[in-house]
């Protein structure tokens, strides 16, 4: 880890960000907008910054994206 990485990790994102609870609440909507080619950053302000700053939420975001890419849509 170089100094740039250390600085980025210590200081986190610059802008306003969601809390972990709000991130979880919005995660499904955010990911569907991403997969539909929409603008998730405008739809859920503060989500991208939180995903930059919170490794755990970022991992779960990536997992939901990958799961939906790999799984067919379920009914009913």
């Amino acid at each position: 880890m170089n100094n740039r990485d250390v600085t980025r990790r210590l200081l986190g994102p610059a802008g306003p960000e969601l809390t972990c609870d709000a991130c979880f609440e919005q995660l499904d909507r955010y990911v569907e907008i991403e997969l539909d080619g929409g603008d998730p950053h405008s739809a859920v302000p503060g989500m991208a910054a939180h995903l930059e700053g919170c490794p755990a939420c970022a991992e779960e975001h990536e997992s939901l994206l990958e799961l939906l890419r790999s799984a067919p849509t379920e009914g009913p």
Binding site: V6, G12, V31, E60
Partner: protein, 206 residues
């Protein structure tokens, strides 16, 4: 609310056989998502871990969480997407905690002083060294011991926030708030000292 959402929510609340069938089907979906997550993170687990049991436990806990939160589903996404996130969360947290079981996590607020990551040595540029020194002083002087502990363990030591929360008897949300407050204090302090934080440069004194 979409028809799709109405079907799930109403079926899961219908009572009798319809509810039993919907619950069983939901459990299958959650188990699929939990297995997906456990398999993604399997390399972090040692070979003695029963990954099928871990997935099953995660799916069970996710099912309880989904049913408890059913009344909060607003139809902003497909019901299955909404439900999947509960299974992914339960599985991810279980894998992280299992992977760190038996590993020491220093709860010493001054442990950061022993971490060699804040490189101010000859390989670092002058600007970078100056920022690293300012960061080190900021951590020492501006943060509380608890903020130092959370900041350093999560960001430099790579301790998953769920694992640290478990060790401290706290929650992810509470620890992230601590982390956020610590970062804000550091950013404010560095800005007051004239650092253009996101470029890493110190602005010339007027």
């Amino acid at each position: 609310m979409s028809d799709q959402a109405f079907d799930w929510v109403s079926a899961l609340s219908a009572g009798g056989r319809e509810q039993d069938d919907a619950t069983r089907r939901l459990h299958e979906l959650l188990l699929r998502a939990a297995r997906f997550e456990v398999n993604r993170r399997r390399s972090s687990l040692d070979g003695s871990v029963d990954v099928d049991q871990l997935s099953s436990d995660a799916a069970h806990d996710a099912l309880l969480a989904v049913l408890a939160k059913l009344h909060t589903y607003r139809g902003d996404s497909r019901f299955t997407t909404w439900a999947y996130k509960f299974a992914l969360l339960e599985a991810a947290v279980k894998v992280r905690r299992r992977a760190w079981r038996g590993r020491e996590v220093s709860l010493d607020a001054d442990a950061w002083t022993r971490i060699p990551n804040l490189d101010t040595g000859p390989a670092a540029s002058a600007e970078s060294s100056e920022l690293m020194l300012a960061l080190r002083r900021g951590i020492q002087e501006a943060l509380t011991p608890h903020q130092r502990l959370v900041l350093v363990q999560v960001t430099l030591e790579g301790v998953p926030i769920d694992v640290l929360a478990e060790r401290l008897g706290s929650t992810r949300g509470a620890l992230y708030k601590t982390l956020h407050d610590a970062r804000r204090k550091l950013r404010l302090r560095l800005a007051e000292q004239g650092f253009d934080i996101d470029s890493g440069r110190k602005e010339a004194a007027a």
